[in-house]
């Protein structure tokens, strides 16, 4: 089957078997390997991407459901001039260790900051509740999200 969608602002088409998940579509058709396969059953959040601005587990979504919709992946966050404030703060604080959870974590946080520019610690924790991290203990991740929020408020 064919699917037409927008990935990181560009129109794309792909011919795929109907059982292809969005995660497989991104990783195998478009080589966007930032979204990771942690469990493939919707438990871990490593595959998180934004569909029409909302964080979803791409392993649970069929590519066919994406017809005409817009997907944002971790690869679309930075540009040639600058990082996304989340990426910068995650790096500066050493928020990621093995990094496998990072892309999903950052995208969940991005949705949060778009809807709520001034989140409390609890709200940050809730926003990343679906993104498991086995290395860090989350402390530095929550701090980085808070710092990024601050930075984005100061210089939007």
């Amino acid at each position: 089957m064919d699917v037409e969608l927008i990935i990181n602002g560009e129109e794309k088409t792909a011919s795929i078997p109907p059982e292809t998940t969005l995660l497989k579509l991104l990783r195998e058709e478009f080589y966007l390997t930032g979204a990771k396969t942690g469990c493939d059953v919707g438990d871990c959040g490593a595959c998180t991407v934004l569909v029409d601005g909302e964080a979803v587990n791409s392993c649970l979504m069929l590519a066919g459901q994406l017809q005409g919709r817009s997907v944002e992946t971790i690869e679309g966050l930075a540009n040639l001039e600058d990082f996304h404030p989340l990426q910068k703060n995650f790096e500066d604080l050493g928020s990621l260790q093995c990094g496998f959870c990072g892309p999903g974590m950052i995208l969940s946080a991005k949705q949060l900051l778009e809807e709520n520019p001034e989140p409390t610690k609890q709200e940050i924790q809730d926003a990343i509740a679906g993104n498991l991290c086995r290395c860090t203990g989350y402390t530095k991740i929550v701090e980085a999200v808070a710092d990024a929020a601050k930075e984005m408020r100061e210089e939007p």
Binding site: Y31, T37, G94
Partner: protein
């Protein structure tokens, strides 16, 4: 010769003549990825004196950009995918394996069973683990066959078509039961206790007689899976020179390389292991898993073969933290000074030894706690059961015994009505204390650490 040849005017363009669709000329390149071209080093990375400074990581930027390439993010031309069929029964004899239906499936390029593996055993201490079980099943996560197919989905589908007949045997799951002489043997002819250790110091029985009170309790801890976010992953490629290149999420590549050489019965210089960033190890990626299987499937098909564990594979067959059953008996003076302690540790090793020996040794040495004890007797056993095997996991036995001896200390303090902090101060190691195995300890700051910690989190307040 005529001066001028009349040439027929060409009417169509070259493109039209060739019937080329220009769209097809667009190169098939990966999606564009942007990141800033000017590299700015974060402040934290330019600080030299490390102590007291914030730590960051050199690979942190790549992680945040989604640019880190883990094994599953790599692919090679012509690559195919392998999946592993697991036993699903805890103990059995394999009577028959029928691969014919699976092999007939379109897209299936090769299958592999245990008897095709040159040396079908491995392990860091004892070589008691088969790469693919060929005669006996020792636990439900044992691999029994592997399939390589052109897509992951086809390989997974092919597993369903493999038919295996088992003769069910009586399994044993409880390590205490498994220690009994009458227990069924996990590895026939070998006995279930495969490692034991004893530490003896002073005279425990006399110590108990001299004690004001004695306390006894049993503590147990559970099996824990590492659950690295990245499942075990490797890609093997066998080349025409008879060498094999393995990209793997292995943490200990040198040890892994030796095991791969041994199981493939090849000189080690024919094996190249390429390690990459690992998406979480915690000890669980210290040993080989499917690497030899992928290598052999690659040899059979002449293609690079990728094998990624499913989360189910991960839980069923990768190593876990050892469950311990720990008996403690401690005699103390009226003031709470430990006079005598006796400990028995039973470490449930699951189906294979893996790092149990090392774990047992460390647990044994640490089992008395960081306390000065004149009379000590520790005995420890590692036992086979028909369960998922246990192996290296952060702490190597230390967290299990720490849970036991500290819980035990709390019980004693409560009964003697002594402040739990005080009972630890009374007994804690000091400069020059000897460890249970006689090592003289230096730079000992247990008491200072306890005091600072108690002060910082408001122990006094909390006690009120």
């Amino acid at each position: 010769m005529v001066d001028k040849v009349k040439v027929k005017e060409r009417e169509s363009t070259l493109e039209e003549l060739r019937e080329v669709n220009d769209d097809l000329r667009l190169p098939s390149v990966p999606e564009k990825v942007s990141f800033p071209i000017d590299v700015v080093t974060p402040e934290a990375r330019t600080q030299t004196p490390a102590v007291g400074q914030r730590a960051s990581r050199p690979d942190g930027r790549m992680h945040g950009l989604g640019q880190t390439k883990y094994i599953d993010d790599m692919s090679f031309p012509g690559m195919i995918y392998a999946k592993i069929k697991r036993a699903g029964v805890a103990k059995a004899r394999i009577k028959k394996i029928d691969l014919s239906e699976a092999e007939k499936m379109p897209g299936v390029m090769a299958t592999l069973i245990g008897s095709e593996i040159p040396v079908n055993s491995f392990g860091p201490s004892y070589q008691d683990q088969p790469i693919i079980a060929d005669k006996l099943i020792y636990h439900a996560g044992d691999p029994v066959a592997a399939v390589a197919a052109t897509t992951e989905q086809l390989a997974a589908d092919a597993l369903e078509k493999i038919k295996i007949e088992y003769e069910q045997l009586e399994p044993i799951f409880d390590p205490i039961e498994a220690m009994k002489e009458s227990a069924p043997e996990v590895h026939p002819g070998q006995g279930n206790i495969y490692s034991s250790k004893i530490i003896q110091k002073g005279d425990v029985d006399k110590g108990f007689k001299d004690s004001y009170r004695t306390y006894e309790n049993t503590f147990s801890t559970q099996m824990v899976e590492h659950v690295p976010m990245e499942p075990h992953a490797s890609i093997a490629e066998w080349d025409a020179n008879g060498r094999v290149i393995i990209h793997s999420s292995l943490g200990r590549i040198t040890l892994g390389r030796a095991d791969i050489a041994r199981t493939l019965d090849m000189p080690i210089n024919r094996i190249r292991v390429v390690a990459t960033v690992v998406g979480g190890n915690f000890g669980g990626k210290n040993e080989i898993t499917t690497e030899p299987i992928l290598a052999l499937l690659s040899r059979k098909t002449g293609r690079p073969v990728k094998g990624i564990y499913t989360r189910e594979d991960e839980f069923m067959s990768s190593t876990t933290r050892h469950p311990f059953i720990m008996d403690y008996k401690t005699g103390v003076s009226e003031e709470g000074k430990i006079i005598s302690r006796k400990v028995r540790l039973v470490c449930d090793g699951g189906a294979y030894c893996s790092w149990s020996e090392t774990t047992l040794g460390k647990a044994c040495i640490l089992s008395a706690g960081p306390y000065n004890i004149e009379n000590l007797y520790v005995e420890a056993y590692a036992v086979y059961t028909n369960k998922t095997m246990t192996g290296a996991m952060r702490g190597f036995g230390a967290p299990q015994v720490c849970f036991a001896y500290e819980s035990h200390m709390d019980d004693i303090a409560r009964d003697l009505d002594i402040d739990p902090l005080q009972i630890r101060r009374i007994n804690a190691f000091h400069e020059g204390s000897a460890s249970p195995t006689g090592q003289v300890l230096q730079s000992v700051v247990v008491k200072d650490s306890l005091d600072v910690a108690a002060d910082r989190f408001g122990w006094e307040e909390w006690q009120k």
